[in-house]
């Protein structure tokens, strides 16, 4: 049994403009000690999904189940959830400055977190643990730095403090929501390194939410690609990059400058994502998809196994047979090239 099993999650928000259907039927599993990467653009529902699981989306209408450690997190009371958050599920967010209290020393904040959940830990023990944790995430001079305030740390160091805090009680699951987005690449490398090391050492499962496919390629074991509140494709890391099925995944990869080094034109995905207030009734990607045909507009495709691979699923009406999908690719590529040429002439 997987550590976390999310099934058919729906999240809706009431806003002045109407009901926003932020998440529309998302299912995934996270295995012990593995990293699940969730990738998607702004507004795809990737953060809302995980925040809902941990009870952080107040006022949302939630449906579905999220089984973690024998309980359904979506049915749990706030008391029960508090006993899970921080102890069994650690969380880190994008912006480490707003996640830390500016007026308290970081050591105090870590101690507080430990003592809030474990009443039998003495102050001295908690402090020793705080120093140990800061050392563990690679903060030099942990013994003295423990008494510093958040503003005295750089962005990368603050994110390490957040990781230290999230890992304080050895959670089974760490939810990292864009943990390195605000950081420079060299600092990002340091932080990813720390996360990987801790995972190896403690066997923590990680849900890594990011829009950066480079981070996914480096960290994830399995990947889900989200778009407009739905899972578009779900596969192992290698399959997502080398044998993807869904046109959205294909489009995302093709629009990366790195995949198409210097010179040549990038292949952007035309248009922009649909509004989640009135989501289209068919496939949400249909309006931007070069492969689109009538059925896509009429009917939303289910997430189904493709390429005869049990762990590879895609929500697309295109054939799940490898050879036929390749033929589709060829056809569209030729059409796109032709269109580009015509544009050049005009």
């Amino acid at each position: 049994m997987a550590l976390l099993e999310v099934d058919d999650l729906h999240v809706r928000f009431n806003t002045d403009d109407g009901v926003v259907n932020a998440v529309r039927g998302v299912s995934f599993e996270v295995e012990q000690g593995k990293t699940l990467g969730i990738v998607g653009e702004s507004g795809s529902g990737k953060s809302v999904s995980t925040q809902t699981i941990t009870g952080l989306t107040r006022g949302a209408k939630v449906e579905g189940t999220a089984r973690f450690d024998g309980m359904d997190l979506l049915q749990a009371t706030s008391e029960e959830l508090r006993a899970v958050r921080g102890i069994k599920i650690g969380m880190i967010f994008q912006d480490p400055l707003t996640s830390l209290h500016p007026a308290y020393r970081v050591g105090w904040q870590i101690e507080e977190m430990i003592r809030a959940h474990k009443k039998d830990v003495s102050k001295a023990q908690a402090r020793a643990r705080a120093v140990e944790l800061l050392g563990l995430v690679g903060i030099p001079n942990a013994k003295t730095r423990v008494d510093d305030y958040p503003h005295q740390f750089s962005g990368g160091m603050r994110q390490r403090v957040m990781i230290a805090m999230a890992m304080a009680l050895n959670p089974a699951l760490l939810i990292a929501d864009e943990p390195t987005t605000a950081l420079d690449v060299t600092v990002q490398a340091q932080v990813l390194d720390v996360m990987r090391r801790l995972q190896e050492e403690f066997g923590t499962a990680i849900v890594l939410i990011t829009h950066d496919l480079g981070v996914i390629a480096e960290m994830a074991d399995d990947v889900i690609v989200m778009y407009a509140g739905r899972v578009m494709e779900q596969a192992s890391r290698r399959d997502i990059f080398y044998a993807n099925h869904h046109p959205y995944t294909e489009g995302l990869l093709a629009s990366l400058p790195a995949r198409n080094s210097s010179g040549g034109r990038l292949l952007p995905i035309h248009g922009s994502p649909p509004s989640m207030i009135n989501p289209p009734k068919g496939c949400p990607f249909a309006a931007r998809c070069p492969y689109v045909f009538d059925r896509c507009i009429e009917e939303a495709p289910p997430l189904e196994e493709v390429f005869g691979n049990e762990s590879h699923r895609s929500a697309c009406w295109l054939s799940g047979q490898k050879s036929e999908r390749e033929a589709d690719r060829e056809r569209v590529r030729a059409a796109l090239l032709e269109a580009e040429k015509m544009e050049g002439i005009a």
Binding site: S42, A142, A189, D193, L252, S255, A258, N260, P268
Partner: protein
Amino acid sequence: MTTTGTEPLLRVQNVKKHFPVRSSSLFNRDKLFLKAVDDVSLEVYPGETLGLVGETGCGKSTLARCVTRLYDLTAGTVEFGGQDISTMSRGELRPVRREMQMIFQDPYGSLNPRRRVGSIIGDAFQIHKIDDSKGQKRRVQELMELVGLNPEHYNRFPAEFSGGQRQRIGVARALALKPKLIVCDEPVSALDVSIQAQVINLLDDLQKEFGLTYIFISHDLSVVRHVSDRIAVMYLGKVVETAPSEELFEVSRHPYTRSLLSALPPADPDAAEQRERIVLVGDIPSPIFPPEGCRFHTRCPKARLDCAEHVPPTVPAFDDPPDHVMACLHPLKQDDELSDFTPEVADSEILVEATLQDAIEEPKP
């Protein structure tokens, strides 16, 4: 892009920008300076794209604002089209400003939310008193069409556009006066990848059509690699290496360039597993008290004793072509691996970290 023989459009020589900061100690009344840009020289040739990369706080945005004279310089000269603009007054700068424009990172913050798109783009015509209002509207709508916006949206407010479309408004505004040089300060950093590609292609098309010259600032190396003809790498207020893009990615000489490039996770699992990853130790030092000698020596695996004493000159390494220059006393050979070296300077953070790691006890589970 060949650069030999042509006169540069922009020549930056020994530019410094120091910001005064308040001294932290009550008893030490000496004025302190944050050396955001410290002795930078570079050239930009007509029709090319110069990429400027570096991490937060390396001075790349400050340099851009010095070049466009949004800041006054502390020292050095900026020549634009053969004309020294470094000490010009606001009035003297006005005609120059027509020819150099900027595009900013934040498509939300850089457009006035209370003004209609038409008047935001048309501002430049107002300021420079070009055309009557009827002619202006036509020109603005032409610009909107040029950047892929619907000209009928002339009267809309910025809030009615998506992030990518807003960035197109920013591009249209920069293009209004047909500038020669556009300084793009992180123009696609706030956009999703699929939208990012649309804007990059747009900038590319406009460059071809109007022969524009770009200075393209970004922290995203793969974007810079894609758009730039040449790239300058900055660290702590200095340019450490400049080279044609592909050459920089193939044979980087400066250890900082090498570590920066290695830190970029490629969107490719095989490449991710194979690459040499150099994880830099520690943080970027304070630009108020930058390290003596080479500024990177405190974090450089290859630092030697002389690195802490001498400021390295900017020259080609080994028998590199003259357009590939770097500032390192001990440049890397192509097959050198940074991880094979150990620093020899006393104030190396790498050595400090190593002793600390040894001291940490085995963590209790």
